[in-house]
């Protein structure tokens, strides 16, 4: 059970990032490679907020959220330029990710930083397994964001309008929905969420510059497992990935864990291109 808790908490990190990837992909049709770097930026800023500026935990998380929302805004402004769309959005989002990762290592250096847990560090015993409160926090955050955004999509006008944009950008434009603004908003909200959860993520992962590329890669796997357009799918995809990774590392070999994940990714892409839980076909481009 202790292993399950740790698997679920790692999975929750992937799930959270996959949810923001999904949010942006649904609204804009762009896979934002920089999302991992934005989350890493959030980790570092919240860390600095707590360690250097001595801010209260929740304020530091909010500062991280605001900073990453701004990063998302700037990125959207660049990547959504009409001439940057098309196949070039791959280049631009990878470019933003690289710039951010390079900037982070220039500012904070290459060394790992230990990020203080935003909640108590007293180990709890839940359902017979030992689990740290910050691990439970991550799992709770993943569930809250997946459910919250799904409800927002379903029950608010703005959410429905976002889905309309995802369904057919041109039709949405004709109906008077400001597609560009919706797209930019998706980047900003995705950035804000990634920044806000930075502190919780960092307390599990430590802060280091290469965090960005490995996070975005595993979040991508979670996103593929869950299917584009399904936030619940991303949540489950992340949790499943966490379990596959942790259990294979424990019971097979650490060296084979990534290979097994890679096999899972390939199988899903080839056999279930719409994800494991997909009911509707999302138009693939």
């Amino acid at each position: 059970m202790t292993l399950l808790w740790s698997a679920l908490s790692v999975g929750a990190i992937y799930a959270l990032l996959a949810i923001t990837l999904n949010l942006i992909y649904t609204s804009v049709g762009v896979f934002n490679f920089a999302q991992g770097a934005i989350l890493t930026l959030g980790v570092y800023i919240s860390y600095t907020g707590v360690a250097d500026w001595h801010l209260p935990t929740w304020i530091a998380a909010l500062v991280g959220g605001v900073a990453c929302a701004v990063a998302g805004l700037v990125e959207a402004r660049i990547c959504l330029l009409p001439r940057a769309l098309g196949r070039n959005e791959l280049l631009t989002t990878v470019g933003v990710a690289t710039l951010l990762a390079g900037g982070i290592s220039l500012i904070w250096g290459e060394n790992d930083r230990l990020v203080a847990s935003p909640v108590s560090t007293r180990i709890l015993t839940v359902f017979g397994g030992r689990v740290a409160p910050d691990q439970l926090l991550l799992i709770a955050l993943a569930i809250v964001f997946a459910a919250g955004i799904s409800l927002w999509y379903r029950f608010t006008l703005a959410g429905l309008a976002s889905l309309a944009v995802a369904e057919d950008r041109d039709a949405a434009r004709i109906r008077g929905i400001n597609v560009l603004r919706k797209s930019i908003a998706a980047f900003v909200i995705g950035g804000a969420i990634a920044g806000f959860i930075g502190l919780a993520v960092g307390s599990q992962t430590y802060a280091y510059p290469e965090l960005s590329s490995s996070l975005v890669l595993y979040a991508f796997v979670a996103f593929v497992l869950g299917g584009a357009g399904s936030l619940g799918g991303s949540l489950l995809g992340g949790l499943i990935l966490g379990c596959v990774q942790q259990y294979s590392a424990r019971y097979v070999s650490v060296n084979y864990s990534d290979l097994i994940v890679f096999g899972l990714l390939l199988t899903t892409l080839m056999v279930f291109p719409n994800g494991l839980f997909a009911r509707t076909n999302v138009r693939t481009v």
Partner: protein, 632 residues
């Protein structure tokens, strides 16, 4: 512009000048690199120290890697973040072989290339189902797997890597650092020469077509899968060869070398040199080499610089340093009035009298085709026939099933029941590529014109599969390969003549007007042996004059024997052009016959033409209101 103009104003002297300029330019892409190669090979003679010889070997290795990125990303349009994985495979294979008693430059580089090709093929396989970012991320996974794989595979040193890789040998003789440099540069030169021959050939044109559109590639009968695999393997081979050279030069291979930053650096190098260029890779390789050499001071900022390069490359699509070179060449070409590489040489032998040549149209028969999407029945028992030497019009309002019908004929959708046959032969329901090979050719509602091609190349690209030339032959430029290329050019020009675009043969195709792009697409359907020509809304968005021109072209083609199927909104145009019309509504043929009959058919009139328009007026009078066309 001026193929004709330059021919007209030709006093003897200017013709001579033109010939000389043309010959020079024709060889320039080869002469330049040859000179550079000779210069590099002379360096040891003038006295170059061991350090610089090593730097040149490393640069050659990086140029090979960047060149591979250019193949997959620049020409085939797939961002392969896993290129660094293939580089690692080459380095490990070369390093292991050299350390284990098989130390021979030629043998090991070939072995590395083979291993790289295999890994490239494997990592490209998911690309057959997915593309774009999903493929990029999947290939990126290779980078993450490198450290694990070095642990799992025995004999390659795990975390520590392979060290003390021996000095390379060449057929038993140990190479000095100067001699190794010569071998490395020779390998690079061979690759670049072969790459150039490949990319300047019909294969390069076909790759640009694939980069633009899979639908188009399939619609001219070329295999999307096959071409993608060619691109992955083609990109992997130089990367792996570069890896082997790298291993010898550094005398060490370890997993830490092959990280994400190197993957990004390769792409940045490709962008700096120009992703769709052959020799631009040299500039890109030099950048990588410079960065790895200036380790201390620059490395800190290198990641930021790579990020900026990617961003600038993505936003500005500048074409890199290669485009600067190309602009100079273009200016020279204009100054010396040489219209293009091929044209002046082949033009004289071109017989354009085949304008009146017959086109062997075939009989298209659609029988009892039904197709539904979920609960929507898009087509209900549709049957129709299109005869050679006739224009068959298919009209109907939006949602009537026209487009579905066109897609069934083109093989995009398999019909649920019923069949499509050509000259009595049933077409298999296995996709557009098979239908295209059976002689179905189509245009697209918004013309798909690949970037970076001239008008004649767009047309010639459609012949890629029908008259195939192996890659080996192409690279060696065998007589057959050269003859095929001449045929491509000659047939493309003859076809352009047919559709009235002969004077624009050398124009960059994407700069043509919509009307011309439509005609270009019509030309593309004719250059193959295609029995049936499907035109998808060919008149939409065109003004009166363009429509007039298009109509003229279509009439000429019909008179030459083509089977033309016109799927249109524009009722007046169809009435004017078609020999027989089928009217679709709600997925059913509600009326068919000659235009005169159809336009007076009460069913057609009551269903959507509007009574006032057609009941009293003769067919030839332009219709003041165009209820169908206005839906555009």
């Amino acid at each position: 512009m001026s193929v004709g103009a330059s021919g007209a104003a030709s006093p003897a002297t200017s013709t001579e000048l033109r010939d000389v300029a043309h010959r020079l330019r024709n060889r320039a892409p080869v002469i330049g690199p040859l000179l550079a190669l000779a210069l590099v090979l002379l360096l040891p003679v003038i006295g170059l120290n061991v350090f610089w010889e090593g730097q040149i070997v490393l640069m050659a290795a990086y140029v090979l890697v960047v060149s591979g990125v250019n193949v997959t990303f620049g020409y085939a349009g797939e961002l392969a973040l896993g290129q660094v994985g293939v580089f690692a495979v080459g380095a490990y294979v070369g390093g292991w072989l050299a350390s284990n008693g098989f130390n021979d430059v030629v043998l090991d580089v070939l072995a590395a290339a083979a291993a790289g090709a295999f890994v490239g093929l494997l990592s490209g396989l998911p690309g057959l189902r997915i593309g774009g970012w999903a493929l990029a991320m999947t290939s990126f996974f290779l980078v993450i797997l490198i450290p694990d794989l070095t642990q799992i595979i025995p004999g390659i040193g795990g975390d520590v890597g392979l060290s003390a890789i021996p000095v390379p040998k060449f057929f038993g003789a140990t190479l000095s650092s100067g001699e190794f440099m010569i071998v490395a540069v020779a390998i690079l030169a061979l690759w670049l020469g072969g790459f150039r021959n490949f990319i300047e050939s019909r294969h390069g044109i076909a790759l640009k077509m694939l980069r633009e559109s899979r639908d188009l590639t399939a619609a001219v009968g070329s295999s999307v899968y096959r071409m993608k695999l060619v691109a992955y393997v083609g990109g992997a081979i130089p990367a792996a060869m570069g890896g082997a050279l790298f291993a010898w030069q550094i005398q060490f291979v370890g997993p830490a070398t092959f990280d994400f930053t190197l993957a990004i650096a390769m792409i940045a190098g490709s962008i700096v040199g120009g992703t769709d260029s052959v020799y631009g890779a040299v500039a890109g390789g030099a950048l990588l080499e410079y960065v790895s050499f200036k380790t201390a001071s620059f490395a800190q900022y290198s990641v930021v610089v790579y990020g900026a390069i990617l961003l600038i490359g993505g936003v500005l699509i500048s074409g890199g340093l290669a485009s600067v070179g190309r602009k100079v060449v273009t200016k020279l070409r204009i100054a010396t009035d040489v219209p293009s590489r091929e044209s002046s040489a082949i033009e004289t032998g071109l017989d354009l009298s085949d304008d009146g040549e017959r086109i062997a149209g075939t009989r298209l028969e659609v029988s009892d085709v039904s197709k539904s999407f979920g609960a929507v029945e898009a087509l209900k028992h549709v049957s129709l026939t299109a005869e050679p030497g006739q224009i068959t019009g298919i009209i109907g309002p939006n949602g009537s099933g026209k487009t579905t019908l066109l897609n069934v004929i083109a093989g995009v959708y398999p019909p649920q029941s019923g069949s499509v046959s050509v000259n009595g032969q049933l077409l298999p329901s296995t996709g557009p590529q098979q239908h295209a090979r059976q002689g179905i050719a189509r245009t697209f509602q918004s013309p798909i014109i690949p970037r970076g091609l001239r008008a004649w190349e767009v047309v010639a690209a459609a012949r890629y599969h029908e008259v195939y030339c192996s890659i080996g032959r192409t690279i060696l430029r065998t007589p057959r390969a050269r003859r095929l290329e001449r045929d491509d050019y000659r047939l493309a020009l003859a076809t352009l003549e047919r559709v009235g675009l002969r004077h624009l043969a050398n124009a960059p195709a994407t700069t043509l007007s919509l009307g011309h792009r439509r005609l270009l697409e019509v030309g593309r359907t004719l250059v193959r042996r295609s029995g049936v020509v499907l035109l998808d809304e060919a008149a939409s968005g065109l003004d009166e004059q363009d429509i007039e021109v298009l109509a003229g072209v279509l009439r000429r083609l019909r008179d030459a024997g083509a089977t033309i199927v016109l799927v249109e909104h524009n009722f007046p145009l169809v009435v004017e052009l078609a020999d027989i019309i089928y009217v679709l509504e709600f997925g059913q043929v509600i009326s068919s016959g000659v235009p005169d009959v159809v336009q007076h058919d009460p069913v057609v009139i009551s269903s959507y033409l509007g009574e006032a328009v057609f009941t009293d007026e003769p067919a030839s009078v332009p219709v003041p209101m165009d209820p169908i066309g206005s839906e555009l």
